[in-house]
């Protein structure tokens, strides 16, 4: 336990700058999403579809999506360890490759948990303010699905990036491998069709909209489903295992 505390402490300390920056961005976005709500209370409420209160699910989705991306993204630790020489030094330290990989995963899970809770807190505020209590747990499932989905998508890219970064052992190779890793991560995005704005035009609705109302409703049903949550959770667990394996391999791999 003491060992993991040390390892995680080191990783959190090293990533705190990045974390603070992400936190500020996240809070700014979340607060921005709150402005329409505040305006509703300050000024005369607008009823019907025009009401900002109707937009709450969209706000929740955007906040969860942003939180998920920030929590799952690469924290730059591998790169920092290679350029400082810690990567080489870690070979002569008592923690095993498995213990180091587990601490990498636990650090990532800390961020995922933190941003997850933060997204939940904002959702709570939005729904409380707009009285969405009749939706019950459904809106929370919706938010969790979006959050975990975003985390999974970014983690998939991070695993690819981390795996390629494993081959960089020296500062001199870092730039080249970093570029390759960036390209590799891009390929993963492309293969899994995760690039934003890359939807096929043929699939657009007849009325010219990018996505038809039917599609939106179907999408909503999927996002609010408990089954989806189970599936995404399973994918998340698999990705955590894959991340652990990639990091384990990375810590185990010796220099040429």
């Amino acid at each position: 336990m003491k060992l993991y505390r040390s390892l995680i402490y080191r990783e959190l300390m090293l990533t705190r700058k990045r974390f603070i920056l992400m936190l500020i961005l996240f809070l700014l976005l979340a607060l921005l999403m709150m402005t329409p709500l505040i305006l509703v209370f300050v000024f005369k409420p607008v009823e019907g579809e025009e009401s900002p209160l109707e937009m709450i699910p969209l706000f929740v989705g955007i906040v969860a999506l942003t939180g998920g991306f920030m929590a799952g993204t690469n924290n730059g630790l591998q790169k920092a360890d290679i350029s400082s020489g810690w990567k080489r030094y870690s070979f002569v330290l008592p923690p095993t490759a498995k213990q180091q990989a587990l601490s990498d995963l636990l650090t990532k899970l800390c961020y995922i948990l933190f941003f997850g809770l933060l997204s939940l807190a904002f959702e709570f505020v939005y729904t409380a303010a707009a009285d969405y209590s009749n939706f019950g747990i459904m809106l929370y499932i919706y938010m969790l699905n979006i959050y975990l989905g975003a985390v999974c998508a970014v983690m998939l890219v991070d695993i690819a990036y981390s795996y390629i970064m494993m081959f960089a052992k020296y500062k001199t190779k870092l730039k080249l491998i970093g570029t390759l890793a960036f390209v590799g991560a891009g390929v993963v995005l492309r293969v899994f069709d995760l690039f934003p704005g890359m939807n096929n035009d043929d699939k657009s609705a007849k009325d010219g909209a990018m996505i038809s109302q039917e599609m939106v409703n179907k999408f909503d049903t999927i996002l609010c489903s408990k089954k989806t949550l189970l599936c995404i959770s399973a994918v998340f667990v698999v990705l955590c295992i894959l991340f652990f394996l990639a990091m384990w391999r990375s810590h185990e791999r010796r220099e040429p």
Binding site: L3, R5, Y9, M13, A80, G85, W86, F91, P94, R254
Partner: protein, 292 residues
Amino acid sequence: MNYYDNAVEIKGVTKKYDGFTLDNISFDIPKGCIMGFIGQNGAGKTTTIRSLLHITDINDGEIKLLGLDHIKDENAIKKRIAVVFDELPFHDVFNAKDMARIFEGMYPEWDNAAYLNYIERFQLPQKKRIGQFSKGMKMKLQIACALSHNAELLVMDEATTGLDPVVRDEILHIFMEYLQNGERSILMSSHITSDLEKIADMVTFIDKGRILLTGYKDEIVERHGILKCSKDKLAEIDAEDIVSIRTNNFGAEIMVNDRENAGYKYRDCVIDPANLDDIMLYYVHRDAKEWS
């Protein structure tokens, strides 16, 4: 804790790179000894150290640290050794206090009081970021970390290179103190032979991936000598006595590998004692035999 006679045992280790081979090297470091590992840049010192620490895999041979196999018993070994590299491998954003927090969980025998004592002794600030440290301060911090978990074997790769003589002397003094209980050993690679002359009990000399000399420093230094003679006299010197010959306008200086014997054989020549620097220099030119 296992019993062992040699802190390090290297037998027939070969590591092949494109353009360089660490060729079948063997040497031991008895428990309680300081071994100076000398050789010019690119001779194979760092490769040897990386091999014995299992930073890189070897192609052939056997390495034992503290009587344990360097791969099979890697986890047990790492708790009992300390390593100091030529450059500080800690992140710039940390301070000395952070490093204590990081290491205390990693080493079961981490001694925070000893660490703080070294920090105080080295006059290192506890809260200043490592990125703002001078080179000497960085090396001192790395040494403080290395000496604070009761390591039985201290491995140093060019740790004193680039430091001023005052700091080097201070560090060497600390190493001497550290060895006082007779249970600890040091492997110190350096091309600054004057440091090793001061503290090493044993010396291993490596060149082009091969071990040329290994043994007790005093014996090696006593065995070698520099025979001074005229160029005409050169022909009378047996080839088997010569390591290499340095010629100049006034005559020749010959490194002999058996000073006592050479003293009897060449009574009319002056034989000066050699130091580690001379030995290294003459051995490096052994293939050319004659150089100036």
